[in-house]
C-alpha cells in the first residue's frame, strides 16, 4: 500500500452509520459509499466486465442497497450484503453481454468460474483489514504498510531509511505498532460485529 491519503478515517461503525442513514443523513450514506466503493468495484470488475457494464453493476448495487435500506435487519453485515448483490449484478451484466452478437470475441477472456465465494470472502477480508489499518496513527500505518503491505519488498535497512528511523529503534516501534493494530482488530467494532 503506497498511498495513505484519502483513506477512510471515519471511525463510526457500519451500524452507527446505518442508524444515521435511516434517519435521513446523506453524509452518513456518503461515508458508507466511500468506505466500500473499492469492495463493490472489485467484485464488479473481477468477473471481466467492460468498463460500461462495471459502471452499471457498481451503481445498481448501491441503488439496490438504498432502496432496500428499510429491509436490512443486521447493519453489521452490510459488506456481505454488498458483495452478494454486486455479484448478482455482475452476473446479470455478464448474461446481458453474452447475448450480444459480438460476444464470441470476448468469451475466452472470461473466467469459467467467475467470482467464487472464496475469492469474495478474501476481498471482504482485505477491505476490513484496510479499514482497521486506517484507524492507526499515520506513523504506525506507514510502518506496517512498509513491512507488510508494500508491493516491492524492502529490507529492514531500507525501511528504516525510508521512514527516517534508526535501525535500532525500528524493531521496538514495529512491535508497538503491531500491538496497537492487534488492539484495533480485537476491539474495533468492525471486527467485533463480524464475530
Amino acid at each position: 500500500m503506497k498511498k495513505s491519503e484519502g483513506r477512510p478515517t471515519d471511525t463510526r461503525t457500519d451500524s452507527d452509520l446505518w442508524v444515521e442513514i435511516l434517519a435521513g443523513d446523506n453524509d452518513a450514506w456518503r461515508v458508507l459509499v466511500t468506505r466500500y466503493a473499492s469492495l463493490v468495484y472489485s467484485v464488479c470488475t473481477h468477473i471481466g466486465l467492460s468498463q460500461a457494464d462495471s459502471a452499471d453493476c457498481f451503481q445498481q448495487t448501491w441503488l439496490l442497497l438504498f432502496r432496500n435500506r428499510k429491509r436490512i435487519k443486521d447493519a453489521s453485515r452490510i459488506s456481505s450484503w454488498l458483495i452478494t448483490t454486486a455479484k448478482r449484478e455482475a452476473l446479470r451484466q455478464l448474461r446481458k453481454a453474452e447475448r450480444n452478437p459480438n460476444w464470441g470475441e470476448y468469451a475466452g477472456l472470461v473466467d469459467p468460474d467467475p467470482l467464487p465465494d472464496a475469492r469474495l470472502m478474501q476481498l471482504e477480508r482485505q477491505k476490513h483489514l484496510e479499514i482497521s489499518l486506517s484507524q492507526l496513527d499515520p506513523a504506525c500505518r506507514r510502518l506496517l504498510e512498509a513491512f507488510f503491505f508494500c508491493d516491492d519488498k524492502k529490507s529492514y535497512q531500507e525501511i528504516a531509511r525510508a521512514l527516517g528511523y534508526s535501525q535500532n529503534t525500528l524493531g521496538p516501534k514495529r512491535r508497538r505498532c503491531l500491538e496497537k493494530f492487534k488492539k484495533i482488530l480485537i476491539h474495533d467494532k468492525h471486527w467485533d460485529e463480524r464475530k
Binding site: 446523506n26 450514506w29 459509499v33 468495484y41 460500461a52 457498481f58 478474501q122 482485505q126 484496510e130 500491538e179
Partner: protein, 185 residues
C-alpha cells in the same frame, strides 16, 4: 514474515520458536491470507460521487406535479419543417419532448444488435434529475447526459426532476405501429 507464512509448518515453527517478535506478528497476521495484497483498487471518482448522490436523490420530496410531455420532433415520423419529409425508419432516431419548458432530447442508435441511447434535459439545470426507463433508473453523467445501452429500445420513459414527474408518450419502434400512429394523427 509474508514469505515465512507461505512456507511449510516445520519451517515456520523453527523460526517462530526462536523469534519472539516474529511470533507475535505471526499470531496477529496468520489469520489474513490477504496480507501483501492491499489495497483494493478504487473506482473512478465520478462513480463514487454518483453513488454517494443516490441518498440525496432517493429522498426526493413527494411528487407534487405530474406532467405529460408532448412529442415535438421525431426523425422517424414527423417532418422537421414544412416540405421536408421525415427520414423514415433508419438505424438512428432522434426524438424531442417538451413539458412546460423542460426539454428532453433522446438519440437512439442501433448498436451491435441492441440500442445505444443518449438523453439530455434542458431547462432544469442544477436540479436533481433521474430518468426511468423500464426497471432501470439512469442518472446524468458529469456532462449532464443520460447514457445507456439496451437490447430493446425504450417504450415508456419517465423523468423525475425534484417534485415533478414527467411522463413521456409511449414510444413505438416498428413500422406498423408508426404507420398506425401516423394514421391516428
Amino acid at each position: 514474515m509474508i514469505a515465512l507464512a507461505k512456507k511449510g509448518q516445520n519451517v515456520r515453527h523453527e523460526h517462530l520458536s526462536n523469534c519472539e517478535d516474529c511470533r507475535r506478528a505471526f499470531e496477529l497476521l496468520a489469520a489474513f491470507d490477504v496480507v501483501g495484497e492491499l489495497p483494493l483498487p478504487e473506482p473512478p471518482l465520478s462513480w463514487i460521487k454518483k453513488a454517494a448522490d443516490i441518498s440525496r436523490r432517493g429522498r426526493q420530496i413527494p411528487i407534487k406535479n405530474r406532467l405529460q410531455a408532448k412529442l415535438i420532433y421525431d426523425s422517424w415520423v414527423l417532418p422537421r419543417s414544412v416540405g421536408v419529409r421525415g427520414a423514415g425508419i433508419t438505424d438512428h432516431r432522434r426524438i424531442e419532448f417538451d413539458a412546460e419548458g423542460i426539454h428532453l432530447s433522446l438519440r437512439a442508435e442501433r448498436n451491435n444488435g441492441g440500442w445505444a441511447l443518449i438523453a439530455q434535459v434542458e431547462g432544469a439545470e442544477g436540479e436533481v434529475a433521474e430518468l426511468k426507463c423500464g426497471r432501470q433508473t439512469h442518472c446524468p453523467d458529469d456532462e449532464g447526459l443520460f447514457q445507456w445501452v439496451s437490447k430493446r429500445p425504450p417504450r415508456k420513459i419517465t423523468l423525475r426532476i425534484n417534485d415533478k414527474l414527467i411522463e413521456l408518450p409511449e414510444l413505438k419502434w416498428t413500422k406498423q405501429s408508426l404507420k398506425k400512429k401516423q394514421n391516428d394523427s
